[in-house]
């Protein structure tokens, strides 16, 4: 139901400029937000080294935004195929629950805590379960042909139940300290979670930009039937995209559970799906599928976290974030709409024709 696009994208010459623009606007928003934070708090940019670790608001923003960044990247691929995954929050809860259960929650007062399974098994187990749930979404969307929002709605509703089933309705506290490295640890003075973000970004960006996969995904998002006629295996690619999104949510679940040192089936990753969608949209990927930018989504996630941190530091009640987020979504989605874009494009053409 997309209006015929007679925007700038059809013209090959300014293509590069538009490409740059896509990442330009999210970056500009982020810079503006950071400057605003700096105005309210002169020490905002200060980064100090304490105990050999980097400390400061910026490091804090990066560290706290890492689960959202990872989920937003997975979701970007899904949205690029003209799909949506609203179950990521539930998968975060499931992954956290599996990890916490595999570690086991008994508090040992004397001596080191011995987990039920070794750490690699814990991590791989949680990720495997999360990927399986992603595949489940993939099967429903690509093989059964269900609408993505319905297919993932099922997991959104049932997923929290599954997470509580795994933890038997308890909030499992994790006492196993090596596990804390994932969400709380530092390597070379930098938060470990940032290495994970970088690794996910590197792998996904390589697959999407150095192979033809990214092009295929965009083709599926723009016109699935045309994509199939050109010989793209649309079904299997769609399936794997959802599996990857589940995997990303699983990684985020590990970080979240490691950060808060517990797994709460009811509240872990609550409303995270909405933040992730917001991050993707802010990053410049259109919800109607097609062209996507992984880096943009990462920036989008950073915008959301900066917004939250800024609101905290200004001293306004943190709940106000929701109102601000709502207004941001309204403005951004109106700016992204075909109608406004076409008008801007028309204005630009008049401006170009004038001289």
């Amino acid at each position: 139901m997309r209006a015929p696009s007679l925007g700038v994208e059809a013209v090959p010459q300014p293509l590069r400029r538009v490409m740059r623009k896509r990442i330009f606007w999210p970056l500009a928003t982020l810079a503006l937000l950071l400057l605003f934070s700096l105005a309210t708090n002169p020490h905002f940019f200060a980064v100090t080294i304490r105990d050999g670790h980097l400390y400061g608001s910026l490091v804090d923003i990066l560290n706290r935004a890492s689960p959202l960044m990872i989920i937003a990247m997975g979701l970007t691929l899904v949205i690029a195929t003209h799909g949506i995954d609203i179950s990521v929050g539930a998968v975060v809860a499931i992954s956290a629950a599996v990890a916490a259960t595999l570690i086991g929650g008994e508090l040992v007062l004397s001596g080191a805590h011995v987990p039920r399974f070794p750490l690699p098994v814990v991590v791989l187990g949680a990720l495997a379960v999360a990927t399986l749930f992603g595949m489940w979404n993939g099967v429903l969307v690509s093989l059964v042909g269900m609408q993505p929002i319905v297919a993932t709605l099922i997991l959104l509703v049932a997923g929290r139940g599954v997470a509580q089933l795994i933890t038997s309705g308890q909030i499992i506290t994790i006492y196993y300290s090596p596990y804390f490295l994932i969400g709380n640890g530092f390597v070379l003075g930098i938060p470990f979670s940032l290495f994970i973000v970088a690794a996910v970004l590197a792998v996904l960006a390589f697959l999407a930009r150095r192979t033809a996969l990214g092009l295929f995904i965009e083709a599926i998002g723009l016109n699935p039937i045309a994509a199939r006629f050109t010989g793209i295996r649309a079904r299997s690619i769609t399936f794997w995209v959802y599996a990857v999104c589940g995997l990303c949510a699983g990684i985020a679940g590990l970080i979240v559970s490691s950060n808060v040192k517990s797994a709460d089936g009811n509240n872990a990753g609550l409303l995270l799906e909405l933040d992730a969608i917001l991050a993707v949209v802010l990053g410049g990927t259109s919800l109607s599928g097609g062209r996507f930018t992984l880096l943009g989504s990462v920036v989008g996630a950073l915008i959301i976290q900066t917004l939250t941190t800024t609101i905290y530091s200004v001293g306004v009640a943190p709940e106000v974030t929701l109102v601000v987020k709502a207004l941001v979504v309204f403005v951004v989605s109106i700016l992204q709409s075909d109608r406004v874009r076409n008008r801007i494009a028309a204005l630009g053409q008049i401006g170009e024709a004038a001289p």
């Binding site: 269900m146 099922i154 509703v157 009640a317 709940e319 929701l322 601000v324 979504v329 989605s333």
Partner: protein, 354 residues
């Protein structure tokens, strides 16, 4: 195009949704009518089956009061889900309903308790607020042609945020009018009773059935859901109807919020968390297609009743934990979606083979 003609001529067969496939020859058409009613029949049968199973398994389950309590405990969900059904019938979605309910409870509580406003004025104001929120969302969706999903997502954030702007804590309501309405019970035969909320829900249901199947507005909703392009070409007031649909949904949510306030007697920003998903699932379970254009308002009632029955069954069973409700509801939604899918494919194959 022909399905839209059928939509307009639905006056002759008011209780039926427009056919999904083009009009057919006599025998096939008769089959099609049955097939269209099939999801509704299955939902009804499932409800009877579940209630029957509960009656066999547990002592005291089979009673009129247990049945009526399904209404008492879920009246607000019925009201919201009905608003949602109209949105879904038109091919859209409204994610803001849960938070509009929370905002209504919050607004009512603060106006009643902290500012001493007259209850009648509070109710009028809450309904106006809900309807205007819906109106604005509809206007944005229609004017800028943005996906309803993202606009109502923003509406959801906005309404929840406004709750917290009023207060972060829960506000208890001690207003005499509200407490009296909350305790009010209408006696029915066999020592049973229903609450005010049930009356509200039933009135809304009756009005909604009339709106959907006996008015021009209802037929336009079905036509937009069938194909917005065709509805436009037919000269139907698509823009006005779409804005009205979201206004209606906002109004229903506010009304549900008032019912929820009577039920809980408190205002809280965390009330009705995730209820939008319950409402969507209720509509899907009763056979409303999320692509729009097919479904029944009355079916939504059975969708909600099935939820209530699952909850009651788990409560009677005792040893099963509450999270099983979520899993069972998820599975039920899945089964119904698969069922719809198979049905769609079947009808597609039939029309292709001719």
């Amino acid at each position: 195009m022909s399905n839209l003609n059928a939509a307009v001529s639905a006056r002759s067969a008011p209780a039926e949704a427009p056919p999904i496939a083009p009009a057919l020859s006599g025998r096939a058409a008769r089959f099609r009518v049955d097939a269209r009613l099939l999801p509704l029949a299955v939902t009804l049968a499932l409800f009877v089956l579940m209630f029957g199973a509960g009656s066999l398994l547990f002592d005291g389950f089979f009673s009129l009061q247990v049945f009526l309590n399904l209404f008492v405990d879920n009246a607000f969900l019925v009201v919201t889900a009905i608003g949602m059904t109209f949105v879904i019938l038109s091919g859209g979605i409204d994610l803001s309903v849960g938070s509009v309910i929370a905002l209504t409870t919050m607004l009512s509580a603060t106006l009643l308790e902290r500012h001493g406003v007259n209850p009648a004025a509070v109710i009028a104001l809450a309904l106006l607020l809900g309807a205007s929120l819906g109106f604005v969302q509809g206007l944005v969706i229609q004017t800028f042609q943005i996906q309803p999903f993202i606009v109502t997502l923003a509406g959801m954030f906005l309404a929840r945020g406004l709750c917290y702007l009023i207060s972060i804590d829960s506000i208890a309501i001690t207003n005499p009018f509200y407490t009296r309405v909350s305790a009010l019970r209408f006696s029915l035969p066999f020592d049973t009773s229903i609450s005010m909320n049930v009356v509200i829900a039933l009135v809304v249901l009756a009005v909604a059935v009339y709106l959907a199947h006996y008015t021009r507005f209802g037929r336009t909703v079905y036509a937009i859901g069938g194909s917005e392009q065709s509805a436009l070409l037919m000269g139907l007031p698509v823009a006005r109807t779409k804005v009205l649909i979201y206004t209606l949904s906002g109004f229903c949510s506010a009304l549900a919020g008032i019912a929820f306030t009577f039920y809980m007697l408190s205002g809280y920003g965390l009330h009705a968390m995730g209820m939008e998903m319950d409402a969507i699932a209720a509509a899907v379970v009763c056979g409303t297609l999320l692509t729009g254009g097919s479904g029944y308002v009355i079916g939504t009632l059975f969708g909600v009743l099935i939820f209530g029955t699952i909850q009651t069954l788990i409560m009677f069973q005792g040893s099963l934990s509450s999270w099983w409700t979520k899993i069972v509801i998820g599975l039920l939604t899945l089964v119904f979606c698969l069922f719809q899918k198979a049905f769609e494919r079947g009808s597609a194959r039939r029309s292709a083979s001719r």
